[in-house]
Amino acid sequence: MPIATPANPALLDVSEVSKSFGSVAVLRSVSLQVTRGEVVTVIGPSGSGKTTLLRCVNFLESYDSGSIRIDGREVGFRDTGARQRRSERDLAKMRAETGMVFQSFNLFPHLTAAGNIMLGLRKVRGKSSTEARAIAEHWLGRVGLAHKADSLPAELSGGQQQRVGIARAVAMEPKILLLDEITSALDPELVGEVLEVVRSLAEDGMTMVMVTHEMAFARDASSRIVFMADGGVSAAGPPAEILGADIDNERLRSFLARFRASHF
């Protein structure tokens, strides 16, 4: 299991992050380090804070205390001590360093598949229309949708939309890719095509943090699995250890038992 060292510093460094919605604590002093090229899977019961943690990493949501750094730079705050929020312009720049794929795809409905990918390339990366189109076509090819470049989201299946969603995120060449339950809204027969794309990105060395309920995929594709419960990290380790039969963590055992009972 790759541990951040001075020679291999953490690309993503989440340190003691806490967050409450009103009186409900959703994140309790969560710490997590991810090194370059790692694929970290976050599992846990619903309401355990997995999605919130992911949304804090690109500051779609703020947090009350702690720090989140990508490549050594604080994501949401100019000054951690004073907790001075970055300007919206700065935040936009920071967010462009991370890619995110959503459970409900969230494609822009008025733009074609290629148009969805080109928007960020043109407006954020400053590419020309021709360059952006070439990059969009390259990534659509990678996700097996070269022939759908000019289709609108409404004309695509869920699996196809999600593959466009992945292409939109990776085309920006993010340092880290965040995947938020990206197969949860898909019909079972469409899950495979999406996971295949993720697997090929992992093979390319893309650093990823994913929240998923696909345990078999998590076991095969992750370098590390983090189990969250009640807003905190309850267990973390290599898949064989976390998903193994002899893990010494009562909550994790009962989560996995319940999970197996409902999925197999």
Binding site: A92, R95, M100, N106, F108, H110, L119, G120, A169
Partner: protein
């Protein structure tokens, strides 16, 4: 019951009606164009501003919605120049009134449209690093316009009919043309039959054209 229909006098003065119809359309088009600008600006301002601004915008909308259009027309044309030192033609005054009038309705249309844009799309815009302005222009407005297009065509159709109110300050639009012919020929039944048909046919034609535009947009999205 000795009344026999005689349309000859109407046809002789038909240029008054034809010119009136064109002017009615012109008034409606100019007013909705300005109204859309007012509506967009205030709606975007409303959803991004604080309480004070919201209150002012809401007051404008409520004022316009609760005062009859004819009264607004009188207020702007007769009232305002007596209080403030300005002068304008009846036509300019009416365009200003109708623009403010449609603007108030469109603020509401656009505001609810902006709020109906799914959160997820805005998150996606944030996630790829778009600035707030870019998210507004490239994500929020296109989706909002798609959502509000049917309401926009309905507003335009209402405005076209509302141009008839301009007759009360002698703007020579279609209804004024009808009144002129009535006063000069006393063919009241004939002239209003013809004018009703003209409003009806133009309204249907506009509706048909606007629905075509809407369908194209829906097919393209």
């Amino acid at each position: 019951m000795g009344y026999t229909l005689n349309f000859n006098l109407i046809w002789r003065h038909f240029d008054k009606l034809w010119g009136g119809l064109l002017l009615s359309l012109e008034l409606a088009v100019i007013s909705i164009a300005i109204g859309i600008l007012i509506g967009l600006l205030l709606a975007v301002w409303y959803v991004s501003a604080g309480r004070a601004v919201r209150t002012v915008i809401a007051a404008y909308v409520e004022f316009i919605r609760n005062v009859p259009l004819i009264l607004l027309v009188y207020l702007v044309f007769y009232g305002l120049p007596t209080v403030v030192d300005i002068a304008y033609s009846a036509q300019t005054s009416f365009i200003a009134t109708l623009s403010l009038y449609s603007g108030a309705y469109l603020v509401e249309v656009f505001r609810s449209g902006l709020e109906a844009v799914p959160r997820g799309q805005l998150d996606a815009g944030k996630a790829i690093g778009l600035t707030p302005w870019q998210r507004l222009v490239h994500v929020r407005l296109p989706t909002m316009l798609r959502i509000t297009l049917p309401a926009l065509s309905n507003t335009f159709l209402s405005l076209f009919k509302d141009t008839s109110v301009a007759s009360v300050i002698s703007v020579p639009e279609l209804t004024y043309g009808a009144q002129w012919i009535n006063f000069n020929t006393f063919r009241i039944v004939e002239v209003y039959l013809v004018v009703t048909a003209m409003y009806l046919l133009t309204g249907y034609a506009l509706l048909f054209a606007l629905r075509l535009v809407e369908r194209r947009f829906r097919a393209a999205h």
